[in-house]
Structure formats: C-alpha cells, structure tokens
Amino acid sequence: MSKIKIGIIGAGRMGITHYSIINSHPQVEISSIADPSGLMLSMMKKYLPVKTFKDYHELFKKDSPDAVLVCTPPNLHNDILKTTFENKTHVFVEKPYTTDLNQAAHLAHLFEKEGLVNQVGYVNRFNDVFKEVNRLIKKDVIGKLIRFKSEMFSCTIAEPDDGSGWRSSREKGGGAVYEMAAHAIDLVNYLVGKPDKVIGSNLNSIYSKKVEDAVSSTFVYKNGCSGTIYVNWSDTAYRKPTNKIELFGTKGKIQADQHSYKIYCNEDDPEQGFRKGWNTRYITDVFENVPFYVRGNEFTSQLYHFIDCIQTSEKKSLCSFSHGADAQEVIHRIFNDYELNGKA
C-alpha cells in the first residue's frame, strides 16, 4: 500500500506535536507544512524533508496531500476547511473545530456526504480512563444519570496579558471557553449527551483583559438529568491541567480524571468486577499501549485512529465534525446565556 501523504497547516504547539506523532506512523509520509511564520518555516525547511508554504492554498495546489492536519488559530479553521473540502482531502482539525456555528453543521454535512474522513481533536475521547467510564455508563453500571459536574483547572494564564494575539480575542477562538472548557463540554457531550438547555452561565476575567479566564454553567436535559461545568485556567494551585468529572446515577456514581476513576456501586456488580461501595481503578488498570508515545497515549491514539479511518473506509471517526459541531453549539449557548442573563 502506498503511504498516505499528509500536509500540516499551522506549526504552533499542536502542529509541532502532531508532526512528531504522525511521523512515527509507518504508513504515513508528511510531505508539506504551511505556516505564515517565516522563522518557523525556515527552521523546518532547514531540518525536515518537507515542502514548506507560507500560504496553505499553495500547499493544496503544489503538494495535493491525501489528508491534512489543521492546527491554526480556530478562527481560520472555517476557510481552511472549505478549501480542504474543495480539494477533496481528509482532515483532522484541532478543537474547537470552527468558531462559526452555522458553518459547523454545514461542513460536517459536506464532508460526510463526500465520504471524507473528518475528525476534531477532542482528545479526551481517546483517553483510556474516559473511554472506560463511557463503556460503564453505556453498560448502565451506575444506572440512569441524574447529576454530573465537569471541571477543569490549570495555571495556563497566571499573569496579565498584553491583550494582543489571537488568544486575547473570542472572535479568533481565544479565551478559557474555547481553549479549555471546550474539552470539559465535549466530555459531557461524550458521556452524558448534548444538553437540551444551558442556564446560569457565568464568565470571569482573572488576568486576561479581553477574554474570560473562568467559566461556569448549568446543563439541563429533557430526561430530568442536569449538571454543571466549572473551568478555570488561572488557578495556580494546579501544576498541570486537570480534568475531573463526577457522575451520579440511580445505581451508583463515578468520579474520574485522566489518570484514575472511583466508582461507588449501590450493589455488587460481579460482571464488571465491582463490589458494593467504593472501587478504585487506575490508568495502570485500563491503559492500552500505543506504538509511539510523545505526550500521552490519547494524543497518539487519536491520530492513529484518523489514519485508520482513512485506510478503512467503513470505519467512522470517534470524534467527527458532527461531534465538534455539538460542542460548538453548547459553547454558543453559554455565551448567549451569559450575555442575556449572566450580568448583575
């Protein structure tokens, strides 16, 4: 089988990481990179065997890759994805997919109809603990879900910014909601489902001048379930990003983060190997090794899954554009709810 030709658009932090991971795949050849930074491009040109372009249009024209990884600031995703579609190219795009809600559903539809693999980088869906929690919920181990709380903390923004750059603008996809809460929201969508209503949303600035550093919101479902999210990326008590979720159901509850989960069962569950009361499982109990590790198994798993979907046409992406559009819809509802009801 000939190798899959990959182009990478955007050589920032994620583009650089994805390059390293996907370059280890034996069936992949990275053939081109596009990035507007002359400094970055000239470094890449000097050290890597790839074509480099300042403008991603040139990448499509002169290299015509089989698939692209889009790792640019989020506000550029929309135009890039349109061009990707015109060139009938498979695509992995970093979250939050697109900041344009109308385009989100439209693009999902286009790519699906054309049979092009489309994936969004909500990496929690490839984390071994969260995958296991998803399996347990589907198996009804904690019964019907009643309440949940999804939280994320980090010390990403720990001093005042100068208010420039894409990270300081919501329109460009900056701020704690797009950059971080998107993960907590997608995790809720993945484990509980997309909420029917979003209420009680609040945004706080801590260090950032123009965007929020903390967000909280309440999600309500027609089936009677409800839950909250709280995300704060200026919490210096956390050395590294932490993602926690607690789910309460009629038969028990689960507390999970990326490294472990605790499950409380109202009754013994011999089929799953849980006893009545608390049971703790660590990542060491549920992990699956990946062929090449750079920064967590989930980052390798998601990109290898993307390649897998390209090679196996009947395989559906575990995190497609339609999942990305769902997260985008919730994000927009949070912003709207805050504008309408969130200010004293």
């Binding site: 400094l39 750059g165 660590y282």
Partner: protein, 294 residues
C-alpha cells in the same frame, strides 16, 4: 573506550514535586508534605543512609534551592553524583500556550539573568535567530537550564522524555548528535535521554551510530508507559551492549500498581545497568534499596 559506569541506584525526585502518574490526589498530598523544603532534605538523608549516592533532579522551580543547599553544605553529605534532567516541561508548556513558541523561548533565555549575562546571551541569541540555527538555540537553552547545577558533580545530563520523544518523532539525528556532543564537551558528563519509546530510540541511535549514551525509560512488569510493549523492551535490553548504551529503569512500580518485591523480581532479571526510584519513607527507601540487585 568504555563508558564511565553510572550508579546502580539513583534517587529520583517526582515524589517531592507533586508528580504521580496514577493519581492526582496522591500527587497533591505529596506536594503538601514537601512544601517545607527541610522535609525534602530529610528524605535525601534517608536515601544516603541507605547507601544511595546518585541523585536525579529536574530543573524545576525548587531545584535551584536544593542545589544551593547541597553546594553550601557539601561537607555534611557523602560525595554525590548528580543526574540533572532538563528542562522543566510545564514551564515551557505554559509559556508557549500564553505567548507562542518564539516569544516563550525569548522569555526563557532572557529572564532572570544578570545584566552582563543578558547582554552576552542576547547577542548569542539573536545570532541564533538570524541564522535560524536550532543547534545554537538548543545550546543556549541547555545552558539556561543547567545554570543551577553548577559546582555539583554531574554524571549524566538527561533530556526529559517530552523533548526527547518529540525530537525522536521528527527523526532528527543531527539534533541528538549535537546534544550528546555538547553535554560531553561543555559539561564533561554523559549524555542521557529519557524516553517512553526505548526500543525505538535505541534502534535509531544504533542506526545513526550515536553511542556512549545513557537511556532512561519506564520499565515495569505491566508495561505501563512502555511503547510499544514490554516484550520489545525485554528484547532490546537483552541484546544491548552496555558499553554502548547504559539502560536506567524508571517507573519500576508503575506508579504503585506493582508491589515492590514483584516489581524488582522482574527488574533484576532484565539486563539493566541502573534504576532510578523515588520514595519518601525510610521503610520504602530501605526496602527498595535492598530489593534492587542488578
């Protein structure tokens, strides 16, 4: 010429800095315990009493104070071998997230340096930027990270796995070659690489002809953080010539998932030259030291 032999047992530092791959709760408890730096020194003394002479220390925020302590109080301690690991990845991760890649590098290079140093480094630094010379840039970053270890007896300088494996994915022979040369020449130490892909890295280094290197990798019975799998690690270690590569095992207990006796029964059967472990009680330190038999 044979490689200078490394210590069979090296004392690690994850327990001091709130790092636990398995449980964030455990990590937090430990971070609280070691908030008072005297508690860290007390644990080091327990390790030295047990006969440990090698110390691995990551160049994080608190390492500076620890290094100063051991420099200033050298007479109170036995002769120690230091195994710095650089850089402190979260510092870079946060800075890059906040400012972007090149501004982050600038900040690291030019912050917290005396005026004279800054002048010297800026001219060197802008030269690196102008020539787009990744090797120069790397050397500057190494120097910044290594400053705090000055005056200590350095045996190996390790590159943290997040950086090693990133560069490994890029297949950048030259960068690894230059790293190893620089560590040998400038720091008179053995170049070390921490990786979560030991068999792959070792094979690459053999292909590239880069030898006399220390490779530190997770190595445990259940295969945790061992890509692609335990079998490949066992095979790579079995076929290894320790004159070319000394292998150091870390995460031997898989963050506590494997009981110590079982863990070292497995480790002792492997062809390894060294183990780095972390513990914070006298009982665990003494037990581990007594169980390691390479």
């Amino acid at each position: 010429m044979n490689m200078d032999a490394i210590d069979k047992i090296v004392f690690g530092d994850n327990q001091f800095f709130g790092i636990n791959h398995m449980s964030q709760e455990k990590a937090q408890q430990l971070a609280e315990k070691f908030f008072d730096i005297e508690n860290i020194y007390n644990v080091y003394r327990l390790a030295f009493d047990a006969g440990v002479r090698g110390v691995m220390l990551n160049s994080n925020d608190r390492a500076k104070e620890i290094c100063e302590h051991f420099r200033d109080n050298a007479s109170q301690y036995p002769a120690l071998h230091w195994y710095p690991s650089i850089p402190y990845p979260h510092k870079y991760a946060n800075l890059v997230a906040e400012k972007g890649i090149f501004p982050a590098i600038n900040e690291v290079l030019f912050k917290d340096n005396s005026a004279r140093k800054v002048m010297g480094m800026i001219s060197k630094g802008s030269a690196a930027v102008v020539t787009k010379d990744a090797v120069k840039l790397m050397q500057l970053l190494i120097d910044v990270e290594m400053k705090i270890f000055k005056g200590l007896d350095i045996k190996v300088v390790f590159l943290q796995n997040i950086i090693t494996d990133l560069i490994l994915g890029y297949d950048l022979k030259d960068i690894f070659y230059e790293y190893c040369e620089y560590i040998r020449k400038k720091y008179d130490a053995l170049p070390g690489l921490i990786t979560q892909n030991m068999p792959y890295l070792k094979q690459k280094f053999e292909d590239w002809g880069i030898t006399k290197v220390v490779i530190c990798a997770s190595y445990n019975k259940i295969g945790y953080l061992m890509s692609p799998d335990v079998e490949s690690y066992e095979k790579a270690a079995q076929q290894n010539n320790p004159d070319d590569y000394q292998l150091m095992a870390m995460s031997t207990l898989a963050s506590g998932a494997v009981p110590a006796r079982e863990a070292y029964d497995f480790i002792n059967r492997q062809r390894l030259q060294s183990v780095v472990f972390g513990a914070s009680s006298k009982r665990n330190i003494d037990e581990t030291v007594s169980l390691i038999d390479l």
